[in-house]
């Protein structure tokens, strides 16, 4: 077999492009292929896939095109062109046979073209053999009729085939989506059957109703004699309007379910108002009753491929789903992000896809700033792939919601410019969380410095211990210096305590070295339950020839080192000794 016919003067290395047995078929919206040259209108990706598809076919591998039949038709015409060069009819027959067998949409065409070629070369035997193998083959205009085309696909009976054959091929964008057309056809057939039932309830057939209404129109519009050929023809032609109208209703119902906003005009449009009125009365009103429930019951949820086509068709259709997501948002930002990304995938053919992410970023900025920036990066990702790079910035108020500081804003701007430069989406997304992480200061300590500090502290503690320890001024040691002569000085140290008559029994710790005066004062406290008013103590001191405060102060100084606190506290108008302190100073 011949190799690839390169019509673009470019060559492609296909080895790594697609993994074996895993084919991601680039979507190619259905169009009528008239020649191999129609491949020129395909995208680069589609072209690359076509060559893979062809190579696989030639190697006996038949890739599932997932409804993208254009590739099969291109191949058909490709084979025809090759035949034109070498006239190898045997090879062509095999190729067409395989093509028709594996890509059923091409079967009729393959047979039709083969038959023509066989007729041209006068190979009657092959022609007869072909017709023998498949009696349904005939290349005629009826093939194009809806009923004939969808006979097998929709498992239609003959009545349904005939019903659908009455319709003109719908040629709008919505019906160009195969899955949508199929749903409309199924709904149409079901609707028709229901209309039939309703009519039968009135003891008429639908055809009788159609004939009646058509008769009103034809009679008024034309002056044909009833029963004449012209009359009959006009009736049939008029009834086509009815079939078409019912089909439009069915299509609108499917459009409604598939949230395709644009609807068809379902006015019958006959110029005879009586006929219109009658039609509305007998048909339209019944359809309006039946259709919503019927559509709900029968129309299948759109497959993701269908959704993709629909989103591409109606570039603002995403807003319906988007509004649903924002209305139901309850704080699960992760789910919101997944839903938006999923919505984005379904909108991959939508040239306005970037707006989804921009709006989502704006919405979520109030709730979760990281997700807002992530979705903004996705916005940029798609914006860069669009025809014009808008590079819309987040508004100032949204920036305020998201960024706590100029640094964070600046860091994000760096991420954005980096992404625009290198288009590394994953890298950009990974750069977002660190923007909001506070740069943690690392605390590092130096072991040598710590040792120095500890040594220094130890020295300071020792120094201060010296200064903070009590010199312990003993009031009972009397130091007298007596000048004896010019050269001699006698220093006399007298322990006052030793000189005392020791009249007062010293029940206190010997470490304290309390004077007699101080012991007397403490006895006075003991007699008064360790609590004396300041006035009473003043009187007591005065009676003994002492000043009250110095006495108290002297006792406190003496006991301070022992107790690490003062013994006698002044509290409002009382001098108080705490019981446990008193117990502490008693001799053990």
């Amino acid at each position: 077999m011949d190799g690839i016919i390169d019509i673009t003067n470019e060559s492609y290395d296909l080895r790594e492009l697609y993994e074996k047995d895993k084919f991601d078929v680039p979507s190619w919206k259905h169009q009528y292929i008239y020649s191999y040259g129609d491949l020129g209108g395909a995208t680069l990706e589609q072209k690359k896939f076509y060559y893979v598809f062809k190579e696989s076919f030639l190697k006996g591998k038949y890739i599932d095109l997932k409804g993208n039949t254009n590739y099969a038709f291109i191949l058909l015409f490709n084979f025809l062109e090759i035949y034109d060069d070498d006239k190898n009819i045997d090879r062509l027959q095999i190729q067409f046979s395989l093509l028709g067998a594996h890509y059923s949409e091409t079967k009729q065409y393959c047979t039709s073209f083969l038959l023509k070629l066989l007729e041209k070369i006068g190979d009657q035997d092959r022609i007869n053999q072909l017709k023998q193998e498949d009696k349904s083959l005939s290349y005629n205009d009826d093939y194009w009729k809806l009923g004939n085309r969808y006979r097998e696909k929709l498992y239609l009976n003959e009545t349904d085939v005939q019903l659908l054959n009455k319709l003109e091929n719908p040629t709008n964008n919505f019906c160009d989506i195969e899955a949508c057309k199929i749903e409309i056809l199924r709904l149409y057939i079901a609707l028709f059957n229901e209309l039939e039932k309703v009519c039968l309830d009135d003891n008429v057939t639908l055809q009788q109703v159609f004939d009646y209404i058509a008769g009103i129109y034809v009679k008024k519009q034309y002056s044909y004699q009833k029963g004449s050929v012209n009359y009959k023809y006009s009736i049939e032609e008029t009834k086509k309007y009815f079939y078409q109208n019912i089909f439009k209703h069915a299509e609108n119902a499917v459009r409604e379910i598939y949230a395709h906003k644009r609807k068809l005009n379902t006015d019958l449009g006959l110029h005879v108002s009586n006929a219109n009125d009658k039609y509305n009365e007998r048909i339209t009103s019944v359809i309006e009753d039946l259709l919503p429930q019927l559509a709900k019951k029968l129309v299948k949820k759109a497959h993701s491929d269908t959704e993709k086509e629909l989103y591409a068709l109606n570039t603002s259709r995403w807003k319906i789903k988007f509004e649903e997501l924002t209305d139901k948002y309850k704080g699960d930002y992760k789910q919101f992000k997944s839903d938006i990304v999923a919505l984005g995938i379904l909108n991959e053919k939508n040239p306005s896809i970037e707006h989804i992410f921009y709006e989502a970023s704006k919405f979520i900025s109030k709730y979760h700033r990281e997700t807002a920036l992530t979705l903004y990066i996705y916005y940029l990702h798609y914006d860069l792939r669009s025809e014009s790079f808008d590079n819309k910035e987040l508004t100032k108020s949204i920036q305020k919601n998201i960024f706590e500081s100029n640094k964070q804003l600046h860091d994000f701007q760096l991420v954005v410019s980096q992404y625009i430069n290198d288009r590394d989406l994953l890298g950009a997304l990974r750069s977002i969380p660190p923007i909001f992480e506070t740069n943690r200061k690392k605390i590092s300590v130096n072991l040598d410095t710590i040792k120095e500090v500890e040594i220094s502290l130890s020295e300071t503690v020792n120094l201060l211990n010296e200064y903070l320890c009590d010199d312990f001024e003993n009031e009972d040691i009397l130091i007298q210096s007596i000048q004896i002569n010019d050269k001699e000085l006698e220093i006399k140290i007298t322990d006052k305590k030793a000189e005392t008559k020791d009249e007062v029994q010293n029940i206190y710790s010997s470490e304290l070295l309390l004077s007699e005066t101080q012991i007397s004062v403490l006895s006075f406290f003991t007699k008064n339950n360790l609590s004396i008013t300041t006035d009473d103590f003043k009187d007591y001191a005065k009676n003994n020839g002492w000043f009250a405060r110095p006495i108290i102060d002297g006792i406190n100084e003496t006991c301070y080192e022992f107790l690490d606190d003062i013994l006698i506290e002044e509290d409002d108008n009382y001098y108080i000794i705490t019981e446990n302190y008193y117990q502490t100073i008693l001799a053990q």
């Binding site: 506070t438 943690r440 200061k441 690392k442 605390i443 590092s444 300590v445 130096n446 410095t449 710590i450 500090v453 500890e454 220094s456 502290l457 020295e459 300071t460 503690v461 120094l463 201060l464 211990n465 200064y467 903070l468 320890c469 009590d470 010199d471 003043k538 009187d539 005065k542 003994n544 020839g545 002492w546 000043f547 009250a548 405060r549 110095p550 108290i552 102060d553 406190n556 100084e557 301070y560 690490d564 606190d565 003062i566």
Partner: protein
């Protein structure tokens, strides 16, 4: 094993958790202040020996100024100094002619403290102690028994000795000072508490008019804005004659002088500082130790700070050979640098030991945990602006307490719950103070 008294450990832990400086054991937490403390104790010795000094403790919020002043107090009182503390406020200052100078004096005298009365209010005790000394001396000199010396017949003798002693030690205002002390003595002997109170009121500068003072005490003069500084010098001499090592006065929040709106008044106050400075360093007064504490702005601002007064600037400028590593702590200005991470680490380690010693436990906090704690707290919002050692210590001890009572709690969860709060005083922008 840490060498610390149980009482000190308890005081340290309980005080620091409350965010105040402990009254005992403070030497154990003087991390990073060795040089300053060495300089201070040398200064204290100098003052004990008769010199007088003025020091300026300069540091920003959270640098430990109040901690150092508290430490100075504790050491000085232990060294038998009489100590007084007063904060500058908008209502008191060094120089005034509307009573604000006197208000500062009253605040100082109200807060006079000694070791056995560290909380202040020691002036009556000191006065009685001094009177008792004079009385004892009189009794000895005249061979009068101690039990009889307070009799009426000897009152004149004692009054004469009181006046004689006062005249020996005072230069200015001695006559009225002596008269008031005699009045206090007479009030005490005669049981006239009101007279004693009036005498104390005069000594504390609480008489607003001479008429009042004359009516109550028979003296012509009162302490006022112009003469209060002389009275402080008189008291210094008095305390030294009583046997104390000297008189230390600490004045904090010097930023309030910076905030004086009129430049003339502000300069007068700085002039007063200069007068005190010169008196001390020129030997005109002995055994007086004055400490001012303020921020860097108070010192160095060339428009409003001390450096705006040229005479002070030339005396207080930093030794130009000083560096961060080689410091001159002999100069009047001592800058308190914030503790660095190493010092805070050592401090927290020390606190861990003190805590364990206090509660006789071994809390499971390793050195690495301490570093993790420091990382967490120093990375909290606001940490770089207003985190202080006080807050770090308080949070650390609170966590230790929780762990002590709940040993199975996850430390990292506790660290994560720390919040840093702004404890700075709510000052208006200093430079936006209106200049009058």
């Amino acid at each position: 094993m840490i060498n610390i008294k149980p009482k000190e450990a308890s005081a340290i832990i309980n005080s620091l958790i409350s965010g105040v400086v402990p009254k005992m054991g403070v030497q154990h937490i003087t991390v990073g202040r060795s040089e300053e403390i060495n300089a201070f104790v040398l200064s204290l010795e100098d003052v004990k020996n008769g010199q007088s000094l003025v020091k300026f403790w300069i540091g920003d919020f959270g640098s430990g100024k109040s901690f150092m002043l508290h430490l100075l107090n504790t050491v000085a009182m232990k060294q038998k100094f009489v100590v007084a503390n007063a904060d500058f406020t908008p209502d008191n200052r060094l120089y005034a002619n509307d009573g604000k100078g006197l208000a500062l004096y009253s605040a100082i005298m109200d807060n006079v403290a000694i070791q056995t009365k560290p909380e202040g209010g020691a002036l009556p005790t000191l006065m009685e102690k001094w009177i008792e000394q004079v009385t004892s001396k009189t009794s000895e000199e005249n061979n009068i028994p101690v039990t009889e010396i307070r009799n009426d017949q000897y009152q004149k003798l004692i009054s004469a000795n009181i006046m004689k002693t006062i005249n020996e030690i005072t230069e200015v205002g001695g006559f009225d000072f002596g008269t008031v002390v005699i009045k206090y003595y007479e009030g005490y002997i005669n049981g006239d508490d009101q007279q004693c109170r009036n005498a104390l009121k005069w000594l504390k500068g609480e008489y607003k008019t001479k008429i009042e003072a004359r009516q109550d005490l028979g003296v012509r003069e009162i302490i006022n804005d112009q003469n209060y500084y002389d009275m402080l010098k008189n008291f210094c001499k008095l305390f030294v004659s009583m046997g104390y090592s000297g008189f230390m006065i600490n004045m904090d929040e010097a930023i309030n002088l910076y905030k004086i709106a009129t430049s003339t008044m502000r300069e007068k106050n700085y002039e007063k500082i200069l007068t005190i400075y010169n008196d001390c360093f020129q030997g005109k007064v002995n055994n007086l130790f004055i400490n001012f504490a303020g921020t860097k702005e108070f010192l160095e601002n060339e428009r409003r700070g001390l450096f705006s007064y040229q005479a002070l600037k030339s005396r207080l400028e930093t030794n130009k050979y000083e560096t961060a590593e080689i410091r001159d702590l002999a100069q009047p200005v001592i800058r308190l640098m914030p503790l660095d991470h190493n010092e805070i680490f050592v401090l927290l380690k020390k606190l861990r030991e003190i805590f364990n010693s206090n509660y006789k436990v071994e809390i499971d906090i390793s050195d690495e945990d301490i570093i993790s704690f420091m990382e967490v707290i120093f990375n909290k919002p606001g940490a770089s602006e207003f985190l202080t050692p006080r807050e770090v210590i308080r949070d650390f001890l609170n966590i230790m307490n929780l762990l002590r009572q709940n040993p199975h709690v996850d430390k990292s969860c506790l660290f994560g719950e720390i919040e840093v709060s702004d404890e700075r005083p709510k000052d208006d922008l200093l430079d936006s103070i209106e200049e009058l």
